[in-house]
Symmetry: C2
């Protein structure tokens, strides 16, 4: 995790824009592996049996998944397609659906995933398909935290998880249906910042309360504890990365304290970062095509909100670099080509003075970026390149063609 969100691989970008049509995503393998090691290393130090999973939804590119798996991570999947690609790549892990259909369970159940159930009501469905030996439950602790309202993953208004007061009923029902080994999962926050990094120890404490309650009420010993994701990364230059050693150590302390207090055998710790591994490894690289003096100044680039919707739908901040040697700055809005006024990557930000043809680099586009892309306004999604450890570029996803956009009709291919 590089603290410096203003960093980007300037020379590589300079070279890439001469070779490839903009816009495109560029991922840095070195940084990706570095993030994996920072994360896994911090937990391995305190939890020799630690099981890290990557939240595929953050970046489902198969080549990205292979690198992360090579660093010792499994997968956290949330849909059939994520389980499908993981099986193709030989990566196992956990499956956390929500409002999962029978067809979905049926598709996923033989793909090497521990099923993490979102509700008691799913047990009969699973049992019908054949109860697995191991089952986990996602718990809603009744409280939640996130930097953006839409990403609240717990609390009374959240659609996720078994209410913690009913957890023991869920485990009992699973036991009765034939499950023999159990996990517990909580995913309550998103992009939790350094200022609140004691949050993770807090949710572990809450999980132990539930584990103890389940043991007391049902005799079931929970063997795995998945603390979810939500490990925040800096987007703004004023923000700092979580200190993973501090986070892991604080969780270690809660483990020691709680296992002793409740007389529990230590469960295996699992975590499922997505953004933390991938976000700062990816850059959306685009070119300036139009500079417009309207009521204010707009810099029009060839990338649009359909490539990376976070600013459009969340108002999210992304740092932007302009690849030129301008000493002057000016206040501009950097906008895309979609006919929605929210297609603005930044609004009224002081940036180096740009001209047509300049390269614009949008940072923190490695997680929840391409993955959230769409085709509104008939805009195709663009290519992804990997800057490999040996400094070469490798295309890891081609751009969509116009024909691709119509391939599910009689007109494309």
């Amino acid at each position: 995790m590089n603290e410096n969100v203003t960093y980007y691989p300037r020379e590589a970008v300079q070279k890439a824009v001469t070779e490839y049509e903009t816009p495109f995503f560029l991922y840095e393998e070195k940084r990706l592996r570095g993030n994996c090691r920072t994360f896994k290393g911090a937990f391995d130090k305190y939890f020799p049996n630690f099981r890290p999973l990557f939240a595929v939804k953050a970046n489902p590119n198969p080549e990205i998944l292979k690198i992360i798996a090579d660093e010792g991570f499994g997968v956290d999947c949330s849909s059939e397609s994520e389980a499908w690609i993981s099986e193709k790549l030989g990566i196992k892990g956990m499956y956390t659906g929500n409002y999962t259909t029978e067809e979905e369970f049926s598709f996923v159940k033989d793909k090497g995933m521990i099923l993490n159930l979102d509700d008691i009501s799913m047990i009969p469905t699973i049992a019908k398909l054949g109860m697995p030996e191991t089952i986990s439950f996602r718990i809603n602790p009744g409280i939640g935290k996130a930097t953006m309202e839409n990403n609240v993953f717990a609390g009374p208004d959240a659609k996720y998880g078994v209410p913690f007061e009913k957890a023991h009923m869920a485990y009992s029902a699973a036991w009765d249906a034939g499950a023999k080994r159990f996990g517990i999962h909580m995913m309550t926050g998103s992009n939790v910042p350094i200022s609140e990094q004691d949050y993770f120890a807090g949710i572990v404490r809450k999980l132990f309360e539930i584990v103890a309650d389940v043991k007391e009420k049902t005799g079931i010993e929970i063997e795995m504890m998945n603390i979810g994701g939500g490990f925040g990364v800096p987007y703004h230059p004023d923000e700092k990365s979580l200190d993973m050693d501090v986070v892991a150590k604080s969780i270690r302390e809660v483990f020691d304290e709680q296992c002793s207090q409740y007389g529990l055998k230590e469960p295996r710790l699992i975590a499922e970062p997505g953004r933390f591994l991938a976000a700062d490894t990816g850059f959306l690289v685009s070119r300036v095509h139009v500079i417009k003096d309207s009521y204010k100044k707009f810099v029009g680039i060839d990338a649009s909100a359909n490539d990376m919707p976070r600013p459009a739908i969340y108002g999210a901040y992304h740092y932007i670099s302009v690849l030129n040697d301008s000493k002057e700055t000016e206040k501009v809005s950097v906008v895309g080509r979609i006919c929605e006024n929210n297609d603005q990557f930044v609004r009224d930000r002081e940036l180096p003075k740009t001209k047509v043809g300049d390269t614009v680099v949008i940072h923190n586009c490695g997680g929840h970026a391409y993955a959230m892309g769409h085709n509104y306004n008939g805009r195709p999604r663009h290519a992804e390149y990997l800057l490999t450890l040996d400094g070469e570029f490798r295309q890891i996803r081609r751009a969509e063609t116009i024909e691709n956009l119509f391939r599910t009709t009689n007109y494309g291919n």
Copy 2:
């Protein structure tokens, strides 16, 4: 335009769910043609030379486009792919890009579209490619209106259009570059409600001021006036449809008054509705798979925000019908399967008591619905069916497969 947003073709839906896998979109040809006739008929009455265009971005399905073209509409395109499919279908119209690249102009320029330019700075680009005889400009009148903040299409913070004070400079420059015939365009609002239907006459008055100013300053007579879209439709049962006769008549009055006042030859009127034609003709049909008693009650359906993102990203209201005979109601949230807490089609709404297997119909999903869909969380987009005039179902788009989601990598097809 049916006033009754609670309407849906119940018998057809009942039949369709026995034949097709949910979720799917169902469009009603009869209603679509009806909306086209209501809209075009109202304007034809007052403007014999009226030119209606359909905003393809609202629903780019080729079979939908064919029906609308058959009703006498051209197209309003905003991207290469929209121009591409229109050319394939033999439909001409207008092209309004924004921050348009040279490649984009080059692709579009021979596709039978009048180019509607978003900025003066685009003239040299166009001129380089060969100046067309006819050019239109999109004007930003400095004021705007919309029911949702993200859809403000004009005003000082809007990225669109030539500031109206500079309009004459744009026309002069186009003339100098070789253009001989001119249009003017304004798209300032979205989903304008009946309570503000005098808004359309207002923008026409504003356009005439600019037309007169341009004539006075440059001698150029503008021959076409495109008043954009933004014709609102009811989403909530308490809302009413615009009265298109009143709207068209009010515009007629402004035309008469302004042409006389400024001594202008009457320009040809153009409008480009999207939502107004398509929205209420489409229904997202899904089934209940999970009913969850958490801190409150959630009804989990097989459709998700990736099928129709308006509630997730705008908090938009959509009417929902539950196809059962329940006399009881209960307050529930209807949610999809994506791991974002905004994947809730309705929150805490009183609906007929549902059970697993019930069909849930989300209304007003014919425009800006499938078109805004995406694949986040690895979720495929689903099929589209047309209920034809003779009461048959026709598949007009198949569902995406998992392999399709990975086809731009080495793993799908």
